[in-house]
């Protein structure tokens, strides 16, 4: 039996021409890619919703100049896609390798690497594009070093960057990317033009999702797009993954029911709000209401303990429970403001504990009992 790590077998397989053509097929056959990759923006103008950033970058594209840059914003808002698209438009496929260095959190980025690998690349002389190439791609006279997921770099490694950034700024630009701008040390951040990537707004996200749905031939029920956006908190990547999963689900059930699977029964093939919420792990309202009711019951301890035990066994994540319970309580007008204020404090404390790894069952039970006590006026 060939082993997974049997390099000889792998080499043989690689030498065998079939594999490289198979390899090509994967890249050629976008059907087999997860949709997030398949629909990753290829050019700057493909990037949705980050109009300000895109406009500024497009201008620099024409002027063929670029400052050091810092992209920041929540996950799935297009940061990585934007810089990759920009690099491609600047250098084209042939010059990408020699002009762009991408390092991310999966690469070793300790201080020694910053001192060596990054510095070596930064000071490397520019190679010239082949004749005629410049008419297709601007190929400005500098290289780009992309430090994606820079918030996971140590402070030391970041400090080591300062000098490199300044010394070679004639021939090298840096683009730092992160979720939390506060994790980037000040001396670095202040050397960069900052671009904030916003969570995607309703309209833009909706358009993008509808476009993808059309290309993939999936039908969305009224309200399903809203549900996708609501459940993914402005994270387009998440929304696209949900969409793909939902599409698979409906195509499977429809295909199973009637063998020839023609578009006879459109209803059974469209994605519903319920399917989306299901996939997103949204807790049914009835369950949350049951919990709230238990909190208000006379024998609150036993009632709450029972409901919480079931919810934990059903696998509802603590984070989701907190979010939805919070909504239910904040919008409940029968609860006096003074009580709500105290309840907010409890949510804040329990959230912090959960992020630090606290056991979910105890945490949620504690949360619920304390809220129950506050609501009982004690």
């Amino acid at each position: 039996m060939a082993s997974f790590f049997d390099l000889k077998a792998r080499k043989a397989a690689a030498a065998n021409g079939a594999s490289s053509s198979a390899e090509k097929k994967t890249t050629e056959n976008p059907r087999l890619q997860p949709w997030v990759e398949k629909y990753r923006p290829k050019t700057l103008s493909d990037v949705t919703a980050q109009d300000h950033t895109v406009t500024v970058l497009q201008r620099t594209l024409q002027a063929s100049n670029l400052p050091h840059m810092l992209f920041y914003g929540p996950p799935g808002t297009g940061k990585t896609s934007t810089i990759l698209a920009l690099a491609k438009e600047l250098y084209g496929p042939e010059m990408m390798k020699s002009r762009v260095l991408e390092l991310n959190a999966s690469d070793e980025r300790g201080i020694s690497i910053v001192r060596e690998k990054v510095k070596d690349f930064a000071r490397m002389q520019l190679t010239n594009p082949p004749p005629g190439y410049k008419s297709r791609y601007p190929c400005p006279p500098f290289k780009i070093i992309i430090l994606d997921e820079a918030d996971s770099m140590t402070q030391d490694a970041q400090s080591a960057l300062r000098r490199t950034m300044e010394t070679y700024s004639k021939i090298t630009r840096f683009c730092l990317i992160c979720n939390y701008v506060t994790r980037i040390i000040d001396p670095l951040a202040s050397r960069c033009s900052k671009f904030r990537f916003k969570s995607l707004d309703q309209g833009n996200a909706q358009r993008r999702l509808e476009d993808i749905a059309k290309l993939e031939d999936v039908v969305l029920e009224e309200g399903a797009v809203d549900a996708l956006i609501r459940c993914s908190d402005g994270d387009l990547r998440k929304a696209i993954t949900y969409l793909q999963s939902a599409a698979r689900l409906v195509s499977a059930t429809a295909g199973g029911d009637d063998g020839d699977g023609d578009k006879m029964d459109v209803d059974s093939k469209s994605i519903t709000v319920k399917i989306v919420e299901d996939i997103a792990g949204v807790i049914p309202d009835a369950t949350i209401q049951k919990l709230v009711k238990a909190m208000r019951s006379r024998d609150a301890f036993r009632a709450v303990a029972g409901v919480v035990e079931d919810m934990v066994a059903d696998g509802w994540s603590a984070g989701q429970t907190m979010t939805q319970l919070n909504q239910a309580i904040i919008y409940d007008e029968t609860i006096p403001d003074a009580q709500k204020n105290r309840i907010t404090g409890v949510f804040s404390e329990v959230d912090k504990r959960l992020v630090n790894g606290a056991e979910e069952h105890l945490a949620i039970l504690d949360l619920s009992l304390r809220i129950s006590k506050i609501m009982a006026g004690r």
Binding site: W35, A280, L354, S372
Partner: protein, 352 residues
């Protein structure tokens, strides 16, 4: 002799006996070729792993059953050597990064790149990608999770990840955003009874619905625990009936006694003995979280209604400190002291 939990484990999506909707969903995802990265979450003993292995089989066929275990050595940047076990077939490999504690990032970085950069050995494989299963993903350090991010995107033509976690509170947002989250609820009591009955048939045991029901309830919907209990009942009794007692785990019995002692004997001397007993449990590898949680639920049954909420509050407080701190015994002891004090004060206030 293999235990029935292993022996009777379903091998394919068709064999899975509960959550039919979910099985259907997994099948359709597996058959489409554009399988995304997936994160399975749900309580322990709900059957996550079984479902993952069945999905893998749906993806690649029977070849995934031929597994082997290798020990690999990784080197940290400070030249420390880490030995690490990898379970693999030609289509997938399975790792438990928390085995190497804080060095998990090194393993993730090296291993995933290596996998992603090599080709599928089997030319006729049903999928062009390979799968890496990551167990106990909830224990991955932040650094290791960060290291996964871009890897998951960059190498997605060659590599899919399946992560397994009991809880997703510790998983960072960028990872959640890159995976399809799949919730696996624990089976209901009825579903557990069905599984027990099926196992009984295979073993030639009598079908005792009363016993099955009691086991299901006692297991708290943890199927693994239920099957282990079921086997223990049969191992310890010649003749099993509907009323055969179900044995408790030793450590749970001990915690039950400790709870009673804490409530009844609120003295410094007792604190000392309890401390020694708890320490003993820790050295026997009972996780501190399990200790405090079990103890809390035993205590709740012993104290006045007015105090139950407080017991849970203290338990939750000290459990979270266990996670943040390093000396587990401190927090367990502090919990015990708090409970004694609480009971004492309550009794005084009632007396007056």
């Amino acid at each position: 002799m293999a235990l029935i939990v292993d022996k009777h484990r379903p091998k394919s999506l068709d064999d899975l006996t509960y959550h039919d909707e979910l099985s259907k969903r997994l099948r359709s995802l597996a058959q489409c070729g554009d399988f995304p990265h997936v994160l399975f979450y749900g309580p322990s003993g709900a059957g996550k792993k079984t479902r993952v292995v069945a999905t893998l089989k749906e993806l690649f066929g029977p070849g995934v059953d031929k597994i082997k275990i290798d020990a690999r050595v990784f080197q940290t940047s400070s030249n420390r050597k880490l030995e690490f076990n990898i379970v693999s077939s030609i289509y997938h490999l399975e790792i438990t990064p928390s085995d190497v504690g804080n060095y998990d990032r090194v393993v993730i970085q090296d291993l995933l790149k290596e996998v992603a950069q090599t080709q599928q050995v089997d030319q006729s494989a049903k999928q062009k990608f390979k799968v890496v299963i990551i167990n106990e993903a909830e224990n991955l350090t932040r650094d290791a999770q960060a290291a996964l991010r871009r890897t998951m995107e960059k190498y997605s033509p060659n590599l899919r990840l399946i992560l397994l976690a009991d809880s997703i509170s510790n998983i960072i947002a960028p990872i959640k955003s890159r995976t399809l989250l799949i919730r696996v609820p624990a089976p209901t009591h009825d579903e557990i009874c069905k599984v027990l009955a099926a196992s009984a048939k295979k073993e030639g045991w009598p079908i005792l619905s009363g016993l099955h029901k009691r086991i299901a309830e006692k297991s708290k919907r943890n199927l693994r625990r239920a099957l282990l209990m079921y086997e223990a009942v049969h191992a310890q009794n010649e003749k099993v009936t509907d009323d055969t007692p179900i044995p408790d785990a030793d450590w749970e019995v001990l915690l039950g006694q400790i709870a009673t002692e804490i409530v009844n004997d609120r003295t410094p001397a007792r604190i000392l003995t309890v401390r020694a007993q708890l320490y003993d449990l820790l050295t026997h590898c009972i996780p501190a979280t399990n200790i405090i949680k079990t103890l809390a639920f035993k205590l709740v049954d012993l104290v006045d209604d007015d105090l139950k909420g407080e017991v849970i509050m203290f338990a939750a407080t000290y459990e979270s400190r266990i996670k943040e701190g390093t000396k587990m015994i401190f927090h367990l002891e502090a919990f015990v002291v708090k409970i004694m004090k609480m009971v004492e004060e309550h009794l005084m206030s009632v007396d007056m």
